[in-house]
Amino acid sequence: VTQRPTDPAMTCAEIEGLLEPFVDDELEAAEAAALRSHLAECPACSAELALAERIRTGLRTLPELDPSPSILERVRAQAAAESAKVVPLVRPFRPARAVRRWVIPAAVAAALAGLLATTLLLRFQRPAPSPTTAEVQAAEQQARYALAYIGRATRQASLTLRDDVLEKRVVLPTALSVERPLDPRPGLILEHHLTKGT
């Protein structure tokens, strides 16, 4: 073990972190002087300094390197191939904007108009005979078709309508509104729906 100086102005631990800046000549003059006086008395830190210098010199003598001469030819060939590549003008199918603008609202309006017309027609056919369960189911089925059509149109417009929302917020209220003109007994469709659901 190398003997350390008994009363150095700087400790060996302090010196440790200053060796590289010292080698690069980046220390303040006072700090560099203190370090030099420590080194004069401390063979261990002097040996560390020698290693730090050796590493710096060693790194600086590592040469810059040339790639293989063919590399530029390979890049030129790649560049030429890239230039020659024909970019296909194929785009994913999307309806023209003008068509998109009116098709979906028109589809929705037509479906709702159909639903309304059916409801009014049934209302003015008095005296209305009490509908059978089969008729109620048929009416519900028609309402479902109409709503399914709306749903499809909505999906085409990239609107996500979750099934549970559709069921709770659209199907049931619509079914209930259809039920009233069809049957004086309230809750038949709802009951039917709930029975089916369970």
Binding site: L62, L65, D66, L72
Partner: protein, 171 residues
């Protein structure tokens, strides 16, 4: 900017960085080819004064991408190879040559095991002789941080040497 002229002028910079960073000649060639192709694609938008920093930044990123692709640490004993392009700039004695070759090999190995950003900082500063402000641009770090990284990187190499070679490292 003329691609041919820029590629000829800077390909050495690109390849040197990639080689020391990756420790593998074939991979360094692949990265160089990829980077020069990017230069070809962007040369119309690059100014000569900024092209070297741009290239080295792109090279470093391409090296990171390659390391991610091979999902291995940036070093392995097998990837350290003898550099066959080393120029003989002086006429050293056979003893000097043997010692230099040994130190050079040890340094390349140690450098290849050094973590980032110390490795990049040391390659750019000590091997490629770039100024602090140029390195700061490439690494996108403040100037003083670059200075600290360079000192700390060499300090780590010193610690590595002492661990690997014991007292022989300091004598």
């Amino acid at each position: 900017m003329d691609f041919e002229e820029a590629a000829r002028r800077h390909q050495r910079r690109v390849y040197t960085f990639a080689h020391y960073f990756l420790g593998n000649r074939e991979e360094a060639e692949d990265v160089t080819q990829e980077v020069l192709l990017r230069l070809w694609r962007h040369c119309d938008h690059l100014e000569e004064v900024m092209v070297e920093a741009w290239l080295l930044k792109v090279t470093r990123n391409a090296c990171f991408d390659l390391l991610r692709r091979r999902r291995l640490p940036a070093h392995s004993a097998s990837s350290i190879e003898l550099l066959t392009h080393e120029p003989a700039s002086r006429e050293p004695s056979p003893e000097d040559q043997a010692e230099d070759a040994s130190l050079s090999r040890q340094l390349r190995k140690a450098l290849n095991e050094l973590e980032e950003p110390y490795r990049s900082a040391l390659i750019l500063r000590e091997i490629q002789d770039l100024a602090y402000h140029e390195i700061a641009t490439i690494l996108e770090l403040p100037l003083n941080t670059v200075r600290v990284h360079i000192h700390r990187g060499r300090q780590r190499l010193r610690e590595h040497f002492k661990e690997a070679y014991g007292d022989a490292a300091t004598h």
